[in-house]
């Protein structure tokens, strides 16, 4: 009986030209991969990576002050300008702001993510996840604008403080306002990966820690936090990097002393019209992110990913 069953290897021999093509592609999977991969790769190489290269080149060019034309001659003038007091201060302020936002968001996200992953019922967990996902995607501008309305003079915040009798509060258009808004905007980007990391920790590890006599605090410090670290790092890539390049929030809720790298880049495209210097400044967040990721890797943040 079994002798009559023909065991076919590969696709059936269907007729027609498309069958021929599909048979050919089936036998040459690398060709299939190449055919589907090359258009998106071409887009990224020709448009994205090439643009980054042009930006790098542009950073070595200058603008003729009389004609306002780009001069395609090699010069390191932009970099000398970058390493002067004013710009170093701005870079330092930006990095400090990004660090403050990252640390704050990590502290706010950890208990929240822990509750979601380990305490909440399945139903509550789903609800909370949706509650995080909506602000993650909801209009960035709308969420910044909400804080302008809240923080302004006579806004909700100062009104509430007066009602409770805490006196006047006026943090609109300051670095504090900027910090609050950045923390608010990027918080969901931190919660999602931290939740993912905590959810993956096997219960047995936490139980073992308890069996070995560790109190909750010790388990938290020696077991939970190290295992949640990859999630925190993954989230921090977003909170840190997105703060480094933002110019909307500093322009809209920052004050006179709130210049970040992003603002300066923005003003060099608009009013100052100096694309080469803007390109030089845009390299700064890339370099900082490379240093940041290298440091995180050296600290072993990616080992358990």
């Amino acid at each position: 009986m079994s002798a009559t069953v023909e065991v076919r290897k590969g696709p059936a021999k269907a007729a027609g030209p498309t069958a021929g093509i599909s048979r050919f592609l089936w036998r040459h999977p690398w060709l299939r991969g190449l055919a589907t991969l090359s258009p998106p790769l071409a887009w990224f190489l020709v448009i994205y990576l090439a643009s980054l290269v042009v930006m790098l080149l542009t950073s070595f060019w200058t603008v003729n002050t009389f004609t306002n034309q780009l001069q395609h001659t090699f010069s390191t003038a932009n970099f000398s300008q970058l390493f002067t007091g004013t710009y170093l201060d701005i870079i330092l302020r930006t990095v400090l702001m990004a660090a403050a936002v990252t640390v704050t968001d990590a502290i706010v996200a950890l208990p929240f993510a822990y509750f979601m992953a380990r305490v909440a019922t399945a139903r509550t967990q789903r609800m909370l996840f949706t509650a995080i996902m909506l602000p993650l995607w909801a209009s960035y501008l709308a969420r910044v604008y909400a804080w302008i309305v809240i923080l302004q003079k006579g806004g909700v915040l100062s009104w509430s403080f007066q009602k409770i009798g805490l006196g006047t509060v006026n943090i609109g258009y300051t670095n504090t306002a900027m910090w609050v808004v950045f923390c608010y905007i990027w918080l969901p980007f931190m919660i999602v990966p931290v939740f993912g990391a905590i959810e993956r920790i096997p219960d047995s590890l936490l139980e073992a820690s308890g069996d070995l006599g560790a109190r909750n605090w010790r388990t938290l410090r020696s077991v939970l936090l190290p295992l949640a670290l990859p999630g925190i790092v993954a989230g921090s890539i977003f909170t840190f990097s997105l703060t480094l390049g933002d110019f909307i929030t500093p322009l809209l809720v920052g004050g006179t002393n709130s210049q970040l790298i992003g603002n300066v880049i923005y003003s060099n495209i608009g009013t100052a019209d100096n694309l080469p210097f803007a390109a030089t400044l845009a390299l700064v967040p890339i370099v900082i992110m490379i240093i940041y990721l290298t440091g995180a890797r050296a600290m072993g943040a990616f080992e358990s990913l």
Partner: protein, 267 residues
């Protein structure tokens, strides 16, 4: 770890506080869209829908909306084609560089948008391409591709390879397999990827600042109006409109593909 009663209570309080922090500002601007007065102070003196009518008839808002819709739809179309192609390539074909491909695709979202913006702006100037709808779409598509890619590849990983082999053994050729197996299984992933890409594009302001030139998309109009402190009652309305056009597609996408996958498409 066994959480005591007090710990659980504190965690609950924390969760409620974070949720309030996340949602009170959003609730407030929705309320402000119905603010009767043109003064922005709190509390609003009364509620009215009159600014909705004013904003709707504002020709600047209308042309900005039209441009945003065009850019969003075109960028979504490009992202659908290239994002799903990349997902197919990476999934069906394991090669040494697949991690590199994923990293490359997510780069425009993980690096600050201003870098993409300045890079594209430099390149457009270099090749002499004037800023227009085309340049906006190029910028948006570049960061939307990864959203479709993430959605499609997550779905492809769940589809067993034996389905394709079974189809082939039963005599189905490539196109037939695609039509009867691949497409139906991918349809919701593609749709949710498209919705997310559109939401991302419709709201984008940082890259667009450097690729739009003199034209305004809706977010650029909002940004300009806030900076000048003009037409704020209209801004109240338009901002909520943009909010809805980002939240509704995302809510639908989350229904289709699960909220976890919708969140992971970005992070």
């Amino acid at each position: 770890m066994i959480e005591g009663r007090l710990t659980k209570l504190l965690l609950r309080v924390w969760v409620v506080l974070v949720l309030l922090f996340l949602f009170v500002p959003i609730a407030l601007i929705v309320l402000y869209a119905f603010n009767k007065s043109n003064v922005q102070g709190w509390p609003p003196s009364g509620l009215s829908a009159k600014w909705i009518t004013v904003a709707w008839h504002d020709s600047q808002v209308r042309s900005a909306l039209l441009l945003s819709l065009k850019a969003g739809l075109l960028a979504t179309a490009v992202a659908l084609l290239l994002g799903s192609a990349a997902a197919f390539g990476v999934h069906r074909f394991s090669f040494f560089g697949r991690e590199a491909v994923s990293l490359l695709l997510v780069l425009p979202l993980a690096l600050p948008g201003i870098i993409t913006g300045i890079a594209l702006n430099s390149a457009f100037q270099y090749v002499g391409l004037n800023l227009s709808l085309l340049t906006i779409v190029i910028g948006h598509a570049t960061f939307c591709i990864v959203v479709v890619y993430n959605n499609v590849i997550a779905r492809l990983r769940r589809v067993s390879g034996s389905m394709y082999e079974a189809a082939a053994d039963l005599g189905a050729h490539g196109l037939f397999t695609f039509r009867t197996i691949t497409a139906p299984m991918l349809s919701t992933a593609l749709l949710s990827g498209a919705l997310l890409a559109f939401a991302l594009s419709f709201d984008e302001v940082i890259v667009t600042t450097f690729t739009a030139g003199a034209q305004n998309t809706l977010p650029l109009w909002i940004f300009g109006a806030i900076r000048l402190g003009q037409q704020l009652p209209e801004v109240n309305v338009v901002v909520v409109f943009v909010l809805l056009l980002t939240v509704i597609p995302v809510a639908v996408a989350a229904r289709l593909a699960g909220s976890q996958s919708a969140a992971r498409a970005l992070t």
